[in-house]
Symmetry: C2
């Protein structure tokens, strides 16, 4: 069954998902929806008109303000998949989605990106095997944190680099103890804003719950040219265990392209869930890897 | 449901599995079976007397000569889990086990080790995400290849080191092409045997199908003291992709301890499969990771 799909949100991730769908053979792209007025793109407010014409919606909006609201609205009429990444709110969101998807006879695939997503899986695997997992991100540009800064009134443009504590990574790999928590990373922000807004913008950033509060956060105010010169889609991350016994790492040239690859790959699992009416919300923990394979599983064994 | 379990085979892996079971709370160890006459261990020929008293048997015999025969016999009366690792025969074995386990109302969990097992999963995941996986083992002592040499008549003792081509690993990580196949590793064998047996033993080693044939293989004949000084349980391995985009690696102080950790962790999935009469053969591709978790999955997300 080739699913008819739509994309909601047409930023970096939405465009990367579109590219993956068009390059592959798993999905038939019916429509792209956005709140912005863009050529060839349907207004988000009209999405319900596509009920019955779209089997699965890829939700590619921002996790901070959009995704939750959109997911809880769209699940009433559509199967959905997202890469929702607000760790602090995940359980609440997914629990609600699970209830709504069962009530409405729908399937929701949640948080299929690299973290949450692949890294969540690795943390669960490591711990299941008896190895405490430690997660490090970066150095790299975080799309979610960047968007969170851009959402602050007065901010014209911004980027946020997540920087891991190399010293602590080395300690863990050497089998030494480290203090755990938000101290294992710091957050470097570059922000374009009017001079008179700097103080309040900085305050808003460093006190933002879930995103910056409690982290060592540096805020640099720069001009647009300087900011543009720093922009990158590259990112990195790793899940490691004491003494480096077990280690999973990513080195990404393009964070949105890789996330789009994860979301479109796991979306292949949706076809069978929909067909067999296995309604409910699923995360990466709930799907056997056989559900996304392109070839006979024995070729990998 | 706490499963009543038994162990079949009491070598390095069997002993490591016993240690894990006794240290954990998931299983009640009923009996250990071996072909050898050992104190406190039941003779393998009497295993069927335990029908109905054991929910799950951990098969810890050698993959070359024992496991297949034992699996196909025991599945008629027991649920089983193994870490069978003869890549060349896996599909045939598991296909037979699947048929027999369904006929006999049993569950078989196959090839739960690190390779096959965790590495198989990673190859499937990488490829599912669109990244061709490359697997490298070592440098480390391979239990299976060591046992295969020891099984040759005239061999008093032996060990086999699997050695990866560091040059090819670097090439792949740099995004360069490599020639694929058995050339990516070589096999270093240390063998204790009588002088007059050396020629035939060497011939038997280098021509052994599945294990050595086609590999660059070096055979060193040494005395027992030298051999003992080289013995180690350490092993390593990695599944990598071009340009190092996605990378999974293991650095093991004790190969049998780690394999025992994998097999006993995934054995936790057996309880529900047995209870819900989901008969058949399962590999690591077929189980969602949620089936082996000790804690709420949201703690890992």
């Amino acid at each position: 069954m080739k699913l008819n799909v739509g994309i909601v949100g047409y930023g970096n991730l939405g465009r990367a998902v579109e590219k993956k769908i068009r390059a592959g053979h798993d999905f038939n792209l019916v429509a792209i929806f956005s709140k912005r007025d863009l050529p060839g793109v349907i207004n988000y407010d009209d999405v319900e008109n596509y009920k019955g014409k779209i089997d699965l919606l890829f939700l590619c909006g921002g996790s901070q303000n959009e995704l939750e609201k959109q997911g809880l609205r769209l699940i009433k009429n559509f199967n959905i998949i997202d890469s929702y990444d607000n760790h602090a709110r995940l359980k609440t969101y997914i629990t609600k989605l699970d209830r709504l998807s069962k009530q409405n006879g729908k399937v929701a695939l949640c948080s299929f990106g690299w973290d949450p997503g692949l890294f969540s899986f690795m943390r669960a695997l490591f711990d299941g095997l008896g190895f405490k997992p430690y997660t490090f991100w970066g150095k790299g540009l975080s799309q979610g944190h960047t968007q969170a800064i851009k959402n602050i009134p007065g901010v014209k443009d911004a980027i946020q680099f997540t920087v891991p504590s190399i010293k602590d990574i080395e300690k863990i790999k050497n089998g030494e103890k480290v203090k755990e928590g938000k101290n294992l990373h710091h957050r470097e922000c570059y922000v374009v804003t009017a001079k008179e807004d700097r103080d309040q913008v900085k305050k808003r950033i460093i006190s933002m719950p879930d995103y910056f509060e409690g982290y060592k956060t540096t805020v640099h105010f720069v001009g647009q040219n300087k900011l543009d010169s720093l922009k990158t889609f590259a990112h990195k991350g790793q899940v490691i265990s004491a003494s480096n016994t077990i280690n999973f790492s990513l080195n990404l040239k393009s964070n949105p392209d890789f996330t789009a690859g994860v979301i479109t790959s796991f979306a292949r699992a949706a076809a069978n869930l929909i067909k067999n009416e296995k309604h409910g919300a699923y995360t990466i923990f709930d799907l056997p890897i056989s559900s996304i394979l392109k070839r006979d599983k024995f070729e990998y064994l």
